[in-house]
């Protein structure tokens, strides 16, 4: 059966005045699958996410969702459809509840108590945390709150940028399980930047290895067991050490 694309990239280039960060990427993220993106720092992974979420626009090439160029989408709708959890887990001043409610509040909706409790427990936190000040949270707790607020938008595509790097082992597993469940229950396409090869192999169906703003190798996750590209081979060996 032919796999459907959630996001298609056609020769996508992104450059600033000083640097070329993405050098003509062509590829697709399969609908309903979990794709891991791995690669060294500075490979353009986060920039690629920002392009897909519409925080940046390509300098050249096209990004398509359901066959339509995202430049034709209303940016607000695009960003609700393509949710992103950023690595830095920025918290706004105020309570955890204020932060969790943010995505609904931006859409002019209210977060009900039972919904707040459900989502906060879903990401592995206790409901009591809702009334705490967001500045008092640990790095891991902040990351979980930022996942919760993105999930409240019910995105059809979820971009996760190193979201478990500040979590302990148990929390990491909780989040991995949560993402597997969201993927299987709601059919949400998940694209996950991770530095952890073990995590990539455990959660992802497919993988993109990015290097120097290009895709060095892409395919089913088991390509990491026998990469063809020498640079990828070297990278995988280094990461597995």
């Amino acid at each position: 059966m032919k796999q459907q694309a959630a996001i298609t990239l056609q020769d996508v280039v992104y450059e600033t005045e000083k640097n070329k960060i993405i050098h003509g990427i062509t590829g697709m993220f399969t609908k309903g699958k979990i794709t891991a993106i791995i690669g060294p720092s500075g490979a353009g992974k986060t920039t690629l996410f920002r392009l897909c979420n519409g925080l940046l626009s390509p300098s050249d090439g096209n990004i398509l969702i359901d066959g339509e160029d995202i430049l034709t989408f209303d940016p607000v709708n695009l960003r609700r459809r393509v949710g992103i959890v950023l690595q830095q887990a920025t918290m706004l001043e105020g309570s955890v509840r204020d932060n969790v409610a943010l995505s609904l509040q931006l859409a002019g909706k209210e977060l009900k108590q039972d919904e707040a409790e459900r989502i906060i427990q879903e990401v592995g936190l206790e409901a009591e945390i809702l009334d705490r000040k967001s500045r008092d949270l640990s790095g891991g707790q902040k990351q979980k709150v930022s996942i919760a607020r993105t999930l409240l938008n019910e995105p059809e595509i979820l971009l996760l940028d190193e979201i478990t790097s500040s979590l302990d082992r148990v929390s990491k597993q909780d989040i991995e399980n949560l993402m597997r469940r969201i993927n299987s229950e709601y059919g949400t396409t998940i694209i996950w930047i991770t530095h952890n090869l073990e995590q990539a192999k455990s959660v992802a169906d497919e993988v993109w290895v990015m290097m120097n703003g290009t895709i060095a190798e892409a395919g089913p996750i088991d390509i990491l067991d026998h990469p063809e590209n020498d640079a990828v081979k070297h990278f995988v060996m280094e990461e597995e050490k």
Binding site: S57, L86, L92, S103, T150, N153
Partner: protein, 248 residues
């Protein structure tokens, strides 16, 4: 005041010059420039005002106010260099402030429609609006930079540019208007305001002077808040492009 008395006031310039020289503060040049400029500028304004008051021609009032606005824009625009079209945003803000305040003063016959009232009051309003504008632009530029991650977070969750920048905007409006409000709380207790002092020294009834000073204070409250809000709402869209992305 006699010319001799005025000349004797230069002693107050000599004191800082001597102190600066003795303590090697290096302020002599700036002090001299400031003194010469203030003498030339104020004398020139004095003669210009005399001419306008004598002529009674309304066109000169407009010209004088336009000059004030031009000078205020020239001064404030440097602080907003990072904001596209800041010159016209400042021009519009100062015109609105001037029309609003003079409209109320003249429309409700609070002050008579003569150059003696319109020009000094306009000077105070536009001058204050300029200082407020500079304070606002300074704060807004730094708030936008320091809250960049927060702004992008809100955009990434499907917020509009207005929602994304609201916190920076409100913080800047608040920070720039607080000094005006705070200074009014202690006015009369710590120092007598310049205009009121001037009137009393010139022989006016102290209660009349107080009433005029109150008029100025209330005017400046409106000036402060309207300047910050107008500049804020005119400026924030320039921080985003049509795809609702933050412009660097």
């Amino acid at each position: 005041m006699s010319t001799l008395a005025l000349l004797l006031t230069l002693i107050f310039v000599l004191i800082p010059l001597i102190l600066s020289k003795t303590l090697q503060l290096g302020l002599e040049k700036d002090t001299l420039i400031a003194t010469v400029r203030s003498i030339i500028q104020l004398l020139a304004v004095g003669y210009v005002l005399q001419f306008i008051f004598d002529s009674g021609n309304i066109l000169y009032i407009f010209l004088m106010v336009a000059l004030m606005i031009g000078a205020a824009v020239q001064n404030a625009r440097k602080k907003g260099a990072s904001i596209r079209g800041i010159t016209w945003k400042l021009v519009l803000t100062f015109i609105v402030i001037e029309v609003l305040t003079q409209g109320i003063l003249l429309g409700l016959q609070i002050t008579p429609p003569t150059a003696q009232y319109i020009i000094p009051l306009s000077g105070m309003v536009i001058g204050n609006s300029m200082v407020l504008g500079i304070l606002f632009l300074n704060r807004f530029t730094s708030e936008v930079a320091s809250r960049r991650e927060e702004t992008e977070l809100i955009l990434s969750l499907g917020g509009t540019p207005k929602q994304a920048i609201q916190r920076s905007l409100l913080a800047s409006i608040k920070a720039s208007t607080i000094p005006t409000i705070e200074s009014q709380k202690t006015i009369g207790l710590v120092q007598l305001p310049g205009m009121m002092s001037g009137q009393i020294i010139a022989g006016a009834d102290p209660l009349q002077a107080v009433m005029f000073q109150l008029l100025i204070l209330f005017l400046l409250l409106t000036t402060a808040i309207v300047t910050s809000i107008m500049l804020g709402f005119l400026s924030y869209p320039t921080k985003f492009n049509e795809r609702m992305q933050v412009i660097d």
